[in-house]
C-alpha cells in the first residue's frame, strides 16, 4: 500500500477525481481532521451546497421523465462516459440543457395515446392484422393533435353505440323496450344492423392505423433531436449526474489554499504507476505527485483477499469482530481449523455430528439453487454456513469416538484413547465418569490454542518491525508452558505450598524469570511503568484465560448430561435402543441440537474472540475500499 500526496490546480481537480473514479484504484484520505496541523496555511475544501442541490434536483427530474415515459430504469453497461475537463458546474449546466432539449413532452403524449389505443383495441377484441405503410402528412405536432381528436371521436362513438360493452347495451335496450312496450326483437335487429355489424370492422382497421401513425410520430420525434434514442440519453444523463455528485461529495475530504488543492490517497503497489499517469495526463503536468510508503505506525487500509466458498462463514466470524490491520496475520484459515475442534470437544457426539454433516451437505447443495438475495436473514446465514456445518459435524463425530458418545453416553461406542502426554489423557475416558481428566484435557487444549495465538503475535511483531517487542510473545509462551508444566509436575494447585518450598528453583525459572523478561522488554520499548502494568496483566491473563478453557469441560459435560436425561427417559440401557425410545430420542436430539448447539457455538466464538484474538488480532484494521462509481 502506498500513499499518494497530490497538489493540483483548483481548475483541474474535478477532472482528476473523475479520472481516478473511472479507474477505481484509490481511496481518498479524509484530511479534514488534519487541517489544524497546517496552522492556517491550508483550509478545508468547501463544496458549495448549490452543486449538491442541483445534482439532486436533476436526478429527480430525470426520474420523473422515466416515470412519465413508462421507461425502465435499467443499468447502462455498454456506453462509456468520456472524461471531461470541465468543472462540475458546467457539466451540470450542460446536462440541464440536454434534458430540456429532449422531447419528453411530445413523447409522453405519444405514450399516452398508444396506451389509450391499446386499451380500446383490447376492449373491442380487435384481432391484429397487417397495416400497410403509413405516412404522416403534416408536421408531427399537428398529426398528433389530429390523431388525438379522431381517437376521442372513436371513443365517444364506441360508448354511445355500445361497442364497448355489447351485453350491457343489449340489456339496456331490453329494459327500455319493456317499459315502452316496443317490440324488442325488432329494435335489437335494427340496432345491430345499423351500428355494430357495420361499424366494428371499420373501427378496428382505423385503430390499428392510428397506432401505427403514433409509432411513426414517435420515430420522427426521436430522429429530429441530435441526442439519439431518448431512453438511452436519459440513462446517460442520469449516470453523468450521479458521477458528478459523487465527485463533489468526495472533494469534501480535500484541503485547499487560495488556488491549489491538496489531497492524499491510498493506492495499492500495483496501481501506483497508473494512478500517477492518470493524474499527470489529466492535469497536463501541472500537478505535483509524490508516492511514499506509509509511516511505520500509520493505520493503513488492508486489501482483503477473497476467500474460497467453504471459508466464507469463518470469514464472517472473524470480520464481525474486526478486520486485521495491514501486515497482520489474517486468522481466517487458522480459525477454520481451531473453531471446529473446540466446537467438537464441547459437542462430542457421533450421531448428532453425523446429522450436522448431512445438514451441511444439504445446505451446500441448496445454496447453488437458491438466490441468496431472495431469502430471509436467518435462512441466508444457514445457507452461507453450509460447509461450516460439515466441518463442525466431522469434528463432533471425531470427538464422539474419542469420548464414546452416540446420542449421549449410551454405551454403544467405547471411548478410544489417542494417547497420553504427561498427566493429560487424550480421549479414552467418559467425561461424565472422570470429569477431572476432562478438565485437564480442556486446559491442555486451551494452552495449545493460546500458544498458537502467541506464535501469531510473534509473527505480527516481526512483520511490523517492532523488534523490541518481539521477545515478549516468546517469554509469554515460556511462562504459559512453564506454568502448565509446574501444574502437571506438582499434581495440581492443591499442592501449591510445595511450589514455593521444594520447587522454588523451578518457580523462579519457569514463572518469575519470563515475567521479569516481559517487564524488562516492555520497559525498554515503552517505559518502566508500562512494563510493570503489562507484566501484571500478562500474569493475570495467563491464569484467567487458561482457566476459561475449562468451559470446554463444563459445556461438554452439559451436552452429555442433557443427552443422558433423554436416554434415561427413553429407557436406553447399555447401548440397546428399544424401538419405542426413538421418538423421545428424536425430540431430545432436536432440543439439544438447537438450544445446546447455539450455546456451544457462542462459547466457541467467545473463546476465539476474547481468549485467542486478544493475543494477536486487534480488529482495528480498515478494509481498502477504492473510490469507484457504483
Amino acid at each position: 500500500m502506498r500513499k499518494l500526496k497530490v497538489i493540483t490546480l483548483e481548475d483541474d481537480v474535478d477532472a482528476v477525481v473523475r479520472s481516478l473514479d473511472e479507474a477505481g484504484i484509490v481511496q481518498f484520505i479524509d484530511m479534514r481532521e488534519k487541517v489544524e496541523e497546517w496552522n492556517g496555511i491550508l483550509a478545508s475544501q468547501v463544496v458549495s451546497t448549490e452543486v449538491l442541490t442541483k445534482c439532486s434536483d436533476l436526478l429527480s427530474k430525470i426520474d420523473a421523465s422515466f416515470e412519465n415515459l413508462g421507461l425502465k430504469h435499467e443499468e447502462l453497461h455498454s456506453k462509456k462516459i468520456p472524461i471531461t475537463k470541465e468543472p462540475i458546474e458546467e457539466v451540470l449546466a450542460k446536462v440541464e440543457q440536454n434534458l430540456a432539449e429532449l422531447p419528453v413532452e411530445a413523447l409522453t403524449k405519444c405514450s399516452a395515446l398508444t396506451s389509450r389505443i391499446t386499451q380500446l383495441i383490447e376492449i373491442l377484441g380487435v384481432k391484429p392484422e397487417e397495416i400497410k405503410e403509413v405516412i404522416l402528412k403534416k408536421p408531427v405536432e399537428e398529426s398528433l393533435a389530429e390523431i388525438e381528436y379522431e381517437l376521442s371521436e372513436i371513443e365517444k362513438t364506441a360508448e354511445t353505440t355500445g361497442l364497448i360493452d355489447r351485453h350491457a347495451m343489449v340489456d339496456r335496450i331490453k329494459t327500455v323496450a319493456a317499459r315502452e312496450e316496443i317490440d324488442v326483437h325488432k329494435k335489437l335487429a335494427e340496432f345491430a344492423r345499423v351500428r355494430i355489424i357495420e361499424s366494428k370492422p371499420f373501427f378496428a382497421k382505423r385503430l390499428l392505423t392510428l397506432k401505427k401513425l403514433v409509432e411513426k410520430a414517435r420515430e420522427s420525434i426521436e430522429a429530429e433531436t441530435k441526442l439519439g434514442k431518448t431512453h438511452e440519453s436519459l440513462l446517460t444523463l442520469r449516470k453523468i449526474v450521479e458521477i458528478e455528485k459523487q465527485v463533489a461529495e468526495e472533494q469534501k475530504k480535500f484541503v485547499r489554499s487560495a488556488k491549489t488543492i491538496y489531497f492524499e490517497a491510498w493506492v495499492s503497489e500495483y496501481n501506483v504507476k497508473e494512478a500517477i499517469e492518470r493524474i499527470t495526463k489529466v492535469t497536463a503536468g501541472t500537478s505535483i505527485v509524490t508516492d511514499d510508503p506509509p509511516a511505520p505506525d500509520e493505520k493503513v487500509p488492508i486489501i482483503l483477499k477473497p476467500v474460497p466458498n467453504y471459508l466464507i462463514a469463518f470469514e464472517k466470524l472473524v470480520y464481525s469482530f474486526g478486520h486485521p490491520t495491514s501486515r497482520d496475520v489474517n486468522p481466517i484459515h487458522a480459525l477454520a481449523i481451531t473453531f471446529p475442534i473446540l466446537f467438537g470437544i464441547m459437542f462430542a457426539d457421533v450421531g448428532q455430528g453425523a446429522i450436522f454433516v448431512i445438514m451441511g451437505i444439504i445446505l451446500t447443495l441448496l445454496r447453488r439453487r437458491i438466490k441468496l438475495e431472495e431469502v430471509g436473514d436467518i435462512i441466508q446465514y444457514l445457507l452461507i454456513s453450509g460447509e461450516m456445518f460439515v466441518f463442525l459435524g466431522i469434528s463432533s463425530i471425531f470427538f464422539g469416538f474419542v469420548f464414546g458418545e452416540f446420542f449421549g453416553p449410551s454405551g454403544l461406542i467405547h471411548p478410544i484413547s489417542l494417547g497420553k502426554i504427561g498427566p493429560f489423557y487424550i480421549g479414552g475416558f467418559e467425561p461424565t465418569h472422570e470429569p477431572m481428566k476432562m478438565l485437564k484435557f480442556a486446559i491442555f487444549v486451551g494452552a495449545i490454542h493460546i500458544s498458537l495465538g502467541l506464535v501469531f503475535r510473534f509473527v505480527n511483531e516481526i512483520r511490523h518491525k517492532h523488534y523490541k517487542l518481539a521477545p515478549i510473545p516468546i517469554c509469554w509462551l515460556w511462562l504459559l508452558i512453564g506454568s502448565l508444566y509446574m501444574w502437571a509436575y506438582w499434581r495440581g494447585i492443591s499442592n501449591i505450598s510445595k511450589w514455593f518450598a521444594d520447587g522454588s528453583l523451578m518457580l523462579a525459572g519457569l514463572i518469575i524469570l519470563p515475567l521479569t523478561f516481559i517487564l524488562v522488554f516492555t520497559g525498554i520499548a515503552e517505559g518502566f511503568m508500562e512494563g510493570v502494568g503489562f507484566s501484571v496483566e500478562v500474569f493475570a491473563e495467563t491464569l484467567s484465560h487458561s482457566m476459561s478453557y475449562s468451559r470446554l469441560m463444563a459445556l461438554g459435560l452439559i451436552h452429555s448430561a442433557m443427552n443422558y436425561l433423554f436416554l434415561v427417559l427413553a429407557g436406553v440401557e447399555h447401548g440397546y435402543f428399544p424401538l419405542a425410545s426413538i421418538p423421545l430420542i428424536a425430540i431430545g436430539t432436536l432440543l439439544v441440537m438447537i438450544i445446546e448447539g447455539l450455546v456451544v457455538f457462542v462459547h466457541t466464538l467467545r473463546l476465539h474472540w476474547v481468549e485467542w484474538f486478544s493475543k494477536f488480532h486487534t480488529g482495528e484494521g480498515i478494509p481498502f475500499k477504492p473510490f469507484k462509481y457504483t
Binding site: F321, D377, M436, M547, I558, L598, V599, W609
Partner: protein
C-alpha cells in the same frame, strides 16, 4: 434435619436461581436488542451473543441440578447433604453475579455498538468476563459434587 430434604433444597437453589438470573439477563439484553434491531439490523447477528450467554446461565444451573438429582439416592449422611446444599448455593451465587454483570454490560454494549460499531471488540470484554464468573462457580460446585 433430614439429609434428603437438605439436598432437595440444594437442587431447588441450583435450578431456581440460575433460571431467574438467565431471565433477568435475557429481559434486559433482549429488549435492548429489539430496539437496536429496528435501527441497525445488520448488527443483530453479533450482538445476539449477550442473549445466548444469558441463556447459558440457566443451562449451568440445569447441569448442577441434574447431577445432584442423579446423586440423590447416594446422599444418606448429613455431610453429603450439606455438600449438595453448598454446591447449589455456589452455582446460585455465581449465576446471580454473572447475570447482573451481563445484563448491565450487555445492554450498554448493545447501545454503544449501535452508535459506534468499531467499539464492539473492546466493549464485549465486559460481557464475557462477567460470564466467566459463572464458569468459576460451576467448576467449584462441580468439584464439590464429585466428592459426595
Amino acid at each position: 434435619m433430614d439429609p434428603g430434604f437438605i439436598s432437595l433444597m440444594g437442587i431447588v437453589l441450583a435450578i431456581g436461581v440460575p433460571i431467574i438470573s438467565a431471565a433477568i439477563t435475557i429481559i434486559t439484553c433482549g429488549t435492548a436488542l429489539a430496539g437496536i434491531g429496528t435501527e441497525k439490523p445488520e448488527l443483530l447477528s453479533k450482538l445476539i451473543i449477550t442473549v445466548v450467554l444469558g441463556e447459558a446461565l440457566a443451562i449451568y444451573g440445569l447441569l448442577i441440578a441434574f447431577m445432584l438429582l442423579s446423586k440423590l439416592s447416594d446422599i444418606t449422611t448429613m455431610e453429603a447433604a450439606n455438600k449438595a446444599l453448598i454446591s447449589g448455593i455456589i452455582i446460585a451465587v455465581a449465576t446471580i453475579s454473572a447475570g447482573a454483570g451481563i445484563s448491565y454490560n450487555g445492554s450498554s454494549l448493545i447501545g454503544a455498538t449501535a452508535e459506534k460499531p468499531e467499539t464492539f471488540s473492546s466493549n464485549v470484554i465486559g460481557v464475557v468476563l462477567s460470564e466467566a464468573l459463572a464458569i468459576y462457580g460451576l467448576l467449584i460446585a462441580f468439584m464439590i459434587i464429585g466428592q459426595i
